[in-house]
């Protein structure tokens, strides 16, 4: 990773390969990242029907080690890392502040076979500085928190695992359970992703990432940019931090209640008391899906008009897989069924549905 010419934007190890492939590079969370390599729809469809790859080296990789690592993450993460029973298991969760606002979402991997338990944590790029400061603030003498200078490539799609095996020489990935990882040397290969498709995310040193990327490209894997990543994740009903949730929203109104481990009751994670109080009082809003089957495209920030009061669109796109617009929206908890979205002064009929919208290439909502 190096600084760009202005010194302001960082570049990943794959920057030159993106430029050579004709990528349109844009600033994103302090990085210069590929938006698309021509057509985001072509890239999106490659992931849904075959295989695509994303440079996600801008994500922040942090290793948490030391005798106190386990107890530390049990306090910081609202999900319970004690659920990670074996080396390589992964857990999705959120970091909460004392008021139960979402500081970030993250994946925690168990990164050791035996005691003392070590963990690898992947957080967002846009939240890097505040999350590292938060980690630092809560770390004690028994905990080491170190950001890793590693690249990360996501290979996603129904053909992703087979193609990655063929190119990399890793042979045992089809047996790897979803939300699990294997580590060998400096490489970690996880069966995770942000697209609603099968695939792997590979964390590895930058120089090796360049070779892997080039080899995957030579094997016909479609490079895909941030634009396709956004349409894929939204079809998959996956939240984007900063858009669908942030510190002003709690996980119960962000469709993330399932990531809160209330048991054991004695585990005092940060934000627990505030979240328990909110839950007891009743949360008035929920994050859900919208579909607009007629013409037009729903966009973030638009007003949702429901029989139970107004809500707001948090993310909206034209879905390349479905051929119409879908969105995530925060609406009053009793809102259901038919409602309307205000698009440039016109009220368009939409329907509230439960996300996800698309999984493994197929429409999955009612």
């Amino acid at each position: 990773m190096t600084d760009g010419p202005t010194g302001a934007l960082r570049r990943t190890a794959l920057y030159d390969l993106h430029v050579a492939a004709g990528a349109k590079m844009v600033p994103f969370a302090g990085w210069e990242m590929p938006l698309n390599y021509g057509s985001q729809i072509v890239e999106h469809n490659a992931v849904r029907t075959a295989v695509g790859m994303f440079d996600v080296s801008h994500m922040t990789v942090v290793d948490v080690t030391g005798a106190g690592a386990h107890g530390y993450l049990q306090r910081l993460v609202a999900n319970d890392v004690a659920r990670l029973k074996t080396h390589g298991k992964a857990l999705y969760g959120v970091l909460l502040n004392e008021a139960a606002g979402v500081i970030d979402d993250l994946i925690v991997y168990r990164h050791s076979e035996a005691e003392p338990l070590a963990y690898r944590v992947v957080v967002n790029a846009g939240t890097r500085d505040k999350v590292l400061a938060w980690f630092e603030r809560h770390a004690g003498a028994e905990v080491q928190v170190r950001e890793q200078d590693l690249a990360m490539i996501a290979v996603q799609g129904p053909e992703a695992v087979a193609r990655f095996e063929a190119v990399s020489g890793w042979q045992d990935l089809t047996a790897l359970e979803p939300f699990s990882a294997l580590s060998r040397g400096d490489w970690m290969v996880a069966r995770t992703g942000y697209t609603g498709e099968d695939g792997v995310e590979v964390i590895l040193p930058g120089a090796e990432a360049q070779k892997l990327w080039s080899a995957l490209a030579a094997a016909g894997v479609q490079p895909a940019g941030l634009a396709a990543r956004d349409t894929l994740r939204l079809e998959a009903g996956l939240n984007l931090y900063g858009q669908d949730m942030d510190e002003s929203t709690n996980p119960l109104e962000s469709n993330l209640g399932w990531t809160i481990a209330w048991q054991p009751e004695a585990r005092a994670f940060i934000g627990r008391d505030a979240l328990a109080a909110l839950r007891a009082a009743g949360v008035g809003r929920r994050l859900t899906g919208l579909v607009l089957e007629g013409r037009g495209v729903i966009r973030g920030g638009q007003r949702v008009v429901t029989g139970a009061g107004d809500g707001v669109v948090t993310s909206g796109i034209f879905s390349p897989t479905l051929g119409y617009s879908i969105a995530l929206a925060r609406v009053p908890k009793d809102a259901q069924g038919e409602c309307q979205v205000e698009v440039r002064g016109k009220l368009l009929p939409v329907r509230i549905v439960k996300p996800p919208f698309v999984r493994n290439g197929q429409k999955v909502f009612e």
Binding site: K24, L35, N36, S39, Q40, I41, A227, D230, T231, R295, G296, V297, R299, I317, F318, P320, R344
Partner: protein
């Protein structure tokens, strides 16, 4: 580098205008504009017969990612809209200066075209937006 045909006139808001032999003016969005928007998925036209003033909102082009208003580059009456874009909005990406045109107007005063930029002026605007 995006394509900027020398025979067209350009608005600051990235529309192009072409004077046809019959005195009508065809309007579309520039190569730069379609590239910035990305894959176009939906187009909203003005009404045929609608009277537009220069710089008035005349429609919308939506890509997967963003929506952008289209403005009338000169005043006039809408003569025709490109209905083919309803079913094939991607034409805007593929051929922004040809089959991807948006609408045709009967200008109130054809001299208004002189208020628009020429290709060189538009290229300068793009260069300054880049920095």
């Amino acid at each position: 580098m995006s394509e900027i045909p020398s025979e067209l006139r350009y608005a600051r808001s990235h529309e192009w205008a072409r004077l046809e032999e019959d005195g009508s003016v065809t309007v579309g969005i520039t190569d730069h504009a379609q590239d910035a928007l990305g894959d176009v998925v939906y187009v909203e036209h003005p009404e045929v017969g609608q009277q537009l003033s220069a710089q008035q909102e005349a429609g919308v082009v939506e890509s997967v990612k963003a929506a952008s208003d289209i403005y009338a580059p000169i005043s006039g009456t809408v003569l025709a809209v490109n209905e083919a874009l309803v079913d094939a909005p991607e034409t805007v990406n593929e051929d922004p200066y040809g089959d991807g045109w948006f609408f045709r107007i009967e200008p109130d005063d054809v001299a208004e075209l002189e208020d628009l930029m020429d290709a060189e002026g538009y290229a300068e605007q793009l260069a300054s937006e880049d920095h």
